[in-house]
């Protein structure tokens, strides 16, 4: 049971939103589509769901070509960013409707809905309407609905972006556990790299309708294939040094080290983050960010160096890795 996208392209007028997109997500794998707004990640999700038709390419779910198949028949479990719960139905009815329409008998429906309600800890809310629920509860109902679909693929469109930071952290492990229990591939769209790194096996970084790089979080972090990926992954953002003979060097803030022989720098500002501290530094190679343990005392003038293995090099004109 896997998901394959082949050479997918979608345009609006003469503007290609997504082009030459190839993707493969295996059984039980969670792939995050990560990127800034407008990069095409939501469009890609909608194409997989069938809510939009590609102008080029094919989509295969569990080996079957579903490119021309209606979303009604694709067996997709999707959680929308707004959850899209039916406002006029109770939680129970929201969950039971799909089952009813697919011909499942009343007592069977009751049983299935009850079990998924128990799984998501929503039993007490079965008779409430979506308007009476909190954001986190609505998200769980939306998830429950997707589970009940018994889908071949799960699609999650920024499922946590409507929740506050604390709730997001609380729900992350629950969500991960639930989704990854099954063997279905999961596509997780997000603009938040921390969420992507926490939830996914692999991340596809997207820009302007194309995938810049796919890899595990570690691969993307240690070996970004382009300037864009290097800048997008990792917070605080990677330091980009001014171009020299067509090459841009980059070094992550956490890889900068205090040293007696490094380049001369001056401390501008210090942000305390708990166990670590973020330093804004002025150097002869331009402004630098540095991340280190908060106990370390930083004088006004310092010298910084970094190990060359941690340094990344990119072609100044193409942004590709050298």
């Amino acid at each position: 049971m896997n998901l394959v996208l082949q050479n997918i392209g979608r345009r609006f007028g003469s503007n290609w939103i997504v082009r030459h997109l190839d993707l493969e997500v295996s059984e039980g794998e969670c792939l995050a589509l990560l990127g800034p707004s407008g990069c095409g990640k939501s469009t890609t999700l909608r194409l997989i769901a069938g809510l939009d038709q590609p102008n080029e390419g094919s989509i295969y779910i569990a080996g079957k070509d579903v490119t021309r198949v209606s979303p009604v028949d694709r067996r997709i479990g999707m959680v929308f960013q707004s959850y899209a719960l039916f406002p006029h139905l109770t939680v129970f009815a929201n969950l039971a409707l799909g089952l009813q329409v697919r011909g499942i008998g009343a007592s069977d429906r009751k049983q299935r809905v009850a079990s998924v309600l128990a799984l998501m800890q929503l039993e007490d809310l079965a008779d409430r309407h979506p308007a009476e629920l909190s954001g986190g509860q609505r998200q769980r109902v939306a998830l429950a609905r997707a589970l009940l679909r018994d889908p071949l693929v799960y699609l999650l469109d920024e499922p946590m972006s409507n929740l506050d930071a604390q709730l997001r952290e609380d729900l992350r492990p629950q969500l991960r556990h639930l989704i990854l229990k099954g063997s279905q591939p999961v596509i997780y769209v997000t603009h938040d790299q921390h969420e992507a790194m926490a939830m996914a096996h692999r991340i596809a970084v997207m820009r302007d309708g194309k995938i810049e790089q796919i890899g595990t979080p570690q691969e993307l972090y240690h070996n970004p294939s382009s300037l864009f990926v290097a800048s997008f992954i990792g917070r605080p953002q990677i330091n980009l040094l001014p171009a020299e003979s067509g090459i841009i060097k980059a070094i992550r803030p956490e890889h900068l080290q205090l040293s007696s022989e490094g380049i001369p720098c001056r401390l501008i500002y210090r942000e305390w983050l708990g166990t670590s501290q973020l330093l804004m530094i002025e150097s002869n190679r331009g402004p630098l960010r540095m991340l280190c343990a908060s106990e370390i005392k930083i004088p006004e003038t310092i010298r910084l160096k970094w190990s060359p293995e941690k340094e990344h090099q990119f072609d100044a004109s193409t942004g590709e890795r050298c």
Partner: protein
């Protein structure tokens, strides 16, 4: 202006109610009281006028009944056709929709009374005269433009993700309409229904030319017939009683459904 608000409100109320109240007064007045309103009378008040109207042949409630039949028929037919039409219009491209809205708007403006002759010929040739349910068809057709416009904007107001989620749940088109879309446009449907009902209840020229049998007349036509007698005779008490009885159902409808009526017209104005 604000300081005189209460005065203005009173004026508005008087203005709206006075003619009706005068009819009520007249309907309960005796013949003599009408001839000499300011004189002294032994018998000023009477129920005779109402008795006369209600025991006429055919009985007055018959007209109300006919109007209700036509009203329900028109409303049902209009909604039956307008809801799918509005749904499909909500899915087409903006340009097509704009043209459609423009045309529908023009149709809604059209003084429909001009159509009576052609409709009369139609009724004659298809032998639809004196048939209350047949009358629902032209009424539905005339109400269709406004109905489609109102329902179209209601469908447009629904978040598109709701229907998308329904599709992913496995609901086909009819199932989506039945379980999700139509329930969610309930208020707009109610507004449309009451406006169509009001239109068909009050319609006169077409009803008059299509229906001639006394016991099938709708209310406006019946009243007009009563009024058809000479202007110089004075059973005005009975006329007034007929007016009051004819107005009562409408009063009730408006008072009960005023929110839907207002919201329907308001939506039509804003989105128009």
């Amino acid at each position: 202006m604000m300081r005189h608000r209460n005065l203005l409100i009173t004026v508005l109320l008087l203005w709206s109610l006075a003619p009706l109240l005068w009819q009520v007064y007249t309907s309960f007045s005796t013949h003599e009281a009408l001839l000499q309103p300011l004189g002294e009378h032994n018998h000023r008040w009477t129920l005779d006028n109402y008795r006369q109207v209600l025991t006429a042949n055919p009985p007055f409630w018959r007209y109300l009944f006919n109007s209700v039949i036509v009203g329900i028929g028109s409303t049902g037919l209009t909604l039956l056709l307008a809801i799918p039409a509005a749904y499909s219009l909500s899915k087409v491209s903006q340009n097509v929709a704009r043209t459609a809205k423009f045309l529908l708007f023009g149709a809604a403006l059209f003084p429909y009374v001009l159509l009576f002759l052609a409709l009369l010929e139609l009724a004659r040739s298809l032998n639809l005269g004196n048939n209350l349910l047949a009358l629902s068809f032209p009424y539905a057709a005339l109400s269709m433009p406004l109905a489609v416009l109102l329902l179209l904007s209601a469908f447009r107001d629904l978040p598109s993700e709701l229907e998308e989620a329904a599709r992913l749940e496995g609901l086909g088109l009819w199932q989506r309409l039945r379980w999700i879309l139509i329930p969610l446009i309930g208020p707009a449907t109610a507004s449309t229904a009451i406006l169509v009902f009001l239109f068909s209840w009050n319609e006169y020229p077409i009803a008059m030319t299509w229906i001639s049998r006394a016991d099938l007349l709708t209310l406006p036509v019946a009243i007009a017939r009563i009024a058809g007698s000479s202007v110089y005779s004075i059973p005005y008490g009975a006329y007034a009683a007929a007016t009051v009885l004819g107005a009562l159902p409408l009063l009730l409808l408006v008072l009960i459904f005023q929110r839907q009526i207002v919201s329907g017209l308001t939506q039509g104005a804003i989105k128009g």
